[in-house]
C-alpha cells in the first residue's frame, strides 16, 4: 500500500523558524507542502520519511528566508496494481460501490468487478451476491435476482470490511482553464473529478466481505 518516493525540491525556511534545528524546520516545511496531497503519477503523500540530501541554506534577494535545495524520501500511499487491500464500504449506488481506507476514499468498484451474479437492491441501497444462482446454466436477469428469497442473498452492506484487488488507478490533473460561458451566462464549473482514483475488483475467490470467507474451504467455492 505504501511506498517511498524520492523527491527533489527547493524549500524555504522562514525567519521565525530559525530558532529550531534546521532539519526539523525543513521536515515541518515539507510536511506542510506535501502531506495529505496527491502528487500526479506518484500517489497520496503521507509524511516525510527522511531527508537524503540537504544543500546549504541560501538567502535570496527580496525575502528573509533561507532556501534549501533538498532531496528527501516521502511515504506515499500508492497501492500497486494487483495488490490486495482491506477497505471499508463507504456507500453503494447503481453504478457500483465506493470504498474507504479512512485517510483516502476515492476507491471504487464498478459493476463489472462485482461478484457474478450480483444486483443492486434499491430498498436496502446495497449490492448483493446470489451464489445460489451461479450454478444455473442461464445467466439470471436482474429481475430474477430481485425476486430471489432474501435469505439467499449475500449483501455487501455499508461499513462492512471487504478484501479487494486493485485493478487500475488513475490520476486526473486539474488545469485551471478559462471561465466557461454559455449564451453569455457564466457556467459554474462542473463537479471536480478526484485527482487520484483507484478501481478495485471483487471478482475472485477470497475477495469480497471478509466475513464471507472466514471459515470457507477451497472445495466449497464455486468456480471450479
Amino acid at each position: 500500500m505504501f511506498v517511498l518516493s524520492i523527491i527533489k525540491d527547493t524549500v524555504a525556511v522562514k525567519p521565525h523558524q530559525f530558532g529550531i534545528p534546521a532539519d526539523q524546520a525543513l521536515i515541518n516545511e515539507i510536511n506542510t507542502i506535501y502531506a495529505n496531497k496527491v502528487l500526479h503519477d506518484v500517489g497520496l503523500c503521507v509524511a516525510v520519511f527522511d531527508l537524503v540530501e540537504v544543500g546549504e541554506g541560501k538567502v535570496r534577494y527580496g525575502d528573509g528566508c533561507l532556501w534549501y535545495k533538498l532531496v528527501f524520501r516521502m511515504v506515499v500511499f500508492r497501492p500497486f496494481v494487483s495488490e490486495v487491500l482491506l477497505a471499508k464500504v463507504k456507500s453503494s449506488d447503481e453504478d457500483g460501490i465506493r470504498l474507504s481506507v479512512d485517510f483516502f476514499d476515492d476507491i471504487y468498484i464498478p459493476l463489472i468487478y462485482l461478484p457474478e451474479p450480483s444486483a443492486f437492491d434499491p430498498n436496502e441501497r446495497a449490492h448483493f451476491w446470489l451464489p445460489s444462482a451461479a450454478d444455473s446454466e442461464t445467466k439470471p436477469t436482474v429481475h430474477d435476482m430481485l425476486d430471489s428469497p432474501t435469505t439467499d442473498r449475500m449483501y455487501i452492506d455499508a461499513g462492512e470490511i471487504v478484501r479487494v484487488r486493485v485493478e487500475s488507478d488513475e490520476f486526473y490533473d486539474h488545469e485551471p482553464g478559462p471561465p466557461k460561458a454559455l449564451e453569455g451566462v457564466r457556467v459554474a464549473r462542473e463537479q471536480k473529478k478526484a485527482p487520484y482514483t483507484i478501481v478495485c475488483s471483487m471478482v475472485e475467490q477470497g475477495l469480497g466481505p471478509v466475513s464471507w470467507w472466514r471459515n470457507a474451504e477451497i472445495e466449497v467455492m464455486g468456480d471450479d
Binding site: 532539519d23 500517489g43 531527508l51 537524503v52
Partner: protein, 206 residues
C-alpha cells in the same frame, strides 16, 4: 519539484504505523512542552518573546492524514497487528525458502493470511508454484502470530553519523532491517551523509 523515483521502496503497513506513531508522539510532546513554558511564563509574569517551541507548528494536513492513517492501520480488522516487530522480521526470513516475490511477501506481512482462501488471493497460481508447500507457508505464518511479542532491538548496530535526529535514525535502521528482504533488488543509492548504512546492514544480516 522533481520526482527522482516515485517507487524507491515498498513499506509495510506496520512500518508506516510506526513512523506515524512516532510523529504523533513528537507532536504531543512538543505541545506539552509548549504549554508548560507558557504556564511558567505566566507564573513568573515575564513575557518571553517568541520561544522556539511555540514556533513548531504542525500543519493541519499532516495532522489530518496522520490521525486518519493511524485510525485505519490500528483498526480491529487489520490482521498485521497480530504480528509484532520481531514477528515481521522472522516471518520474512521464514518465507525466504519459498519462491515468493517481493510483492507477495509484502502482502503476506500486511494481510497475514491464515486461511488457504486468503493465500490464494495474494499468491498468483498458488497451486502450480507452491503445490504441497502451501500448508508449510500457512504454518509459518501461523507460527509468527503466536510467536509475536518479541520486540526487535537494533541497538547493536553501530550508528553511523547521519543528518537526522537520533530518534529517526533508530527508526531508519529498524525499518531497513525489515524491509531489506523485499527491496534488496532496488538498491537505494544513498548519496547523502548516511551513505553506506544499508550496505552495512546487509552484511550484518547475512
Amino acid at each position: 519539484m522533481e520526482v527522482v523515483n516515485p517507487r524507491a521502496a515498498l513499506l509495510s503497513n506496520l512500518e508506516v504505523l510506526q513512523l506515524l506513531r512516532e510523529l504523533e508522539a513528537d507532536h504531543l510532546a512538543s505541545q506539552k512542552s509548549a504549554l508548560k513554558i507558557k504556564k511558567e511564563d505566566e507564573q513568573s509574569g515575564t513575557q518571553n518573546p517568541k520561544n522556539p517551541v511555540e514556533n513548531v507548528q504542525v500543519s493541519e494536513n499532516l495532522r489530518t492524514i496522520e490521525v486518519e492513517a493511524i485510525q485505519y492501520l490500528t483498526a480491529g480488522y487489520q490482521p498485521s497487528l497480530s504480528l509484532s516487530e520481531g514477528g515481521v522480521e522472522k516471518l520474512v526470513k521464514a518465507l525466504a525458502p519459498f519462491a515468493l516475490t517481493k510483492a507477495e511477501k509484502l502482502q503476506i506481512v500486511n494481510l497475514v493470511p491464515t486461511e488457504p482462501v486468503e493465500l490464494y488471493t495474494i499468491v498468483e497460481e498458488l497451486e502450480e508454484r507452491l503445490g504441497d508447500q502451501m500448508d508449510a507457508v500457512l504454518g509459518v505464518i501461523r507460527d509468527s502470530i503466536s510467536a509475536g511479542g518479541v520486540p526487535a532491538e537494533s541497538s547493536t548496530h553501530a550508528a553511523p553519523p547521519s543528518p537526522q535526529a537520533m530518534s529517526e535514525e533508530r527508526l531508519f535502521l529498524e525499518e531497513d532491517d525489515i524491509t531489506w528482504d523485499y527491496h534488496n533488488e532496488q538498491l537505494f543509492d544513498d548519496t547523502g551523509e548516511g551513505a553506506g548504512i544499508e550496505g552495512d546492514l546487509e552484511a550484518e544480516d547475512n
